[in-house]
Symmetry: C2
Amino acid sequence: MTPRIDGLQYANWSEKIFRQMRAGGLDAVHVTITYHETFRETVLNIEAWNRHFERCPDLIFQGHTAADVTLARDTNRTAIFFGAQNPSCIEDDIGLVQVLHTLGLRFMQLTYNNQSLLATGCYESHDTGLTRMGREVVAEMNRVGMVVDMSHSAERSTLDAIAHSTRPITISHANPAHWHPARRNKSDTVLRELAASGGILGFSLYPHHLKDGSACTLQQFCEMVARTADLIGTAALAIGSDLCQDQPDSVVEWMRTGRWTKSIDFGEGSAAAPGFPPMPGWFQSSHDFTNIEAGLTATGMHDPEVKAIMGGNWLRFFDASFGPAAGPTR
Amino acid sequence: MTPRIDGLQYANWSEKIFRQMRAGGLDAVHVTITYHETFRETVLNIEAWNRHFERCPDLIFQGHTAADVTLARDTNRTAIFFGAQNPSCIEDDIGLVQVLHTLGLRFMQLTYNNQSLLATGCYESHDTGLTRMGREVVAEMNRVGMVVDMSHSAERSTLDAIAHSTRPITISHANPAHWHPARRNKSDTVLRELAASGGILGFSLYPHHLKDGSACTLQQFCEMVARTADLIGTAALAIGSDLCQDQPDSVVEWMRTGRWTKSIDFGEGSAAAPGFPPMPGWFQSSHDFTNIEAGLTATGMHDPEVKAIMGGNWLRFFDASFGPAAGPTR
């Protein structure tokens, strides 16, 4: 049976939310564990996850390989895969890529919204492409089996990463810019290169990435998915909901400003609406993955395509991505 | 075939030394990776080990389970198991026990020579026994599968650890005090309790732990082993050589003084002989494990006993010790 997988969430984790994952049929979720945190702070976040795993072993466990998705389905739980939305967690130290992979980190964005040591974020006015360290870190991520995620990166940096990486990359949570021209959504050029290289686009449900924002309908969203399939094929498509359920607005402030400014940066928000935007009525929690599957079917997509987008494509990608590049070294 | 295992080394690691491990028939070595280092500094040491593993994959690999000892033997390599000689690496944070276990730490001393947050070292004048945090950390080590090592700890703390730990502990590198009354060697009471609880004593080849120091003969050492077998049985006995090959004397200064004093502490040395003492002629490198096996046989011990001491007992102990306490949690 094809699994159901969410390619990005950053919720205020609780037993309630873990139960909703299972109620929504989610066999695996890629969760963000760190933004601007240092390595030591990221390890504190991993410790907090270890306590979730210890307290809720009947609902969740840490995923390391694609086989854990099947194990989750077989045991009626959800496998949790770790990711970072900024490379702060490796500081200036390439050796931390392998250390964090050993601790379970399976995705790392080369940037959040700003320039990082590795590449350029989508809010900068100049785009360096991959830096010297960026090229080295991508090669190391390729070696150990950590996925390059360019969801928040600028255009040239993203194209550089696709070209330089020897393994397919992901844009785990974004939508096509031609549908909704947000700064975080992606050009057709990027989407075509991503698909041609074997990468995966996770469609985002975050209102700032949606046409008509919180008022976007399920039909609008699913029609956009179907049109993207026409453009770049179904094999590159998946869901990365960007669900930030139950988070206080202080969290979106941390995402946007970290420690890089003493001022306020509203990112995708505004002074009038600085907090998290309300999610669409048809996607309030993981439970509503069921709505998305029904909506995709209603567009006329065939069942195998719908199943691939709902999780089959992520599973294939996980299987190809999370192990060492040259086969087991032991 | 019974494996050959060294239960403690802290050499100046090099390809030469890894080749000598294999030449000495060592299928596994417990290596010290940290003394007074913080967590972040310990991770830097792990990164250095990752580079050794990447550069010398034909000689060594990181061991995680007892099965890796067999894998090493089958592939003509040596499995390297990590250990800490002081709990500085967990700082004041019990959550780091599981994190370090995930990174491969399989042994941790509750103290080096001084009082730690957990227990008392053998050079203190007052022995607290296990502290409040010490009892919590021992329980957490028991849960995840990290071995309590009391080689450098004071008597009451050691007896406390044996009593409080729900799993057998080790004294990975020391000798009986009745043979050579060094502060680091252990009383008959400790040795009897250790053996009765299923623990393991690794006999040390470090000259300060030997009768007549560097002049101790192979026969003296092996007769001591045989007499200890008479006292507490063969099943509790193994080798933990404490080989510090090719280390500059600055390293023994770090071991003894870390950052806890601005003065010099000579530990087991003296102002007249502050550095590493010369090893006995019959034990200069891992290659000389062959001498020890021959020496034990010459005492009249039977071959199964000799094989058990040379590695079989460690293998049984590794198998019982390195996994989670209540079986796999996944």
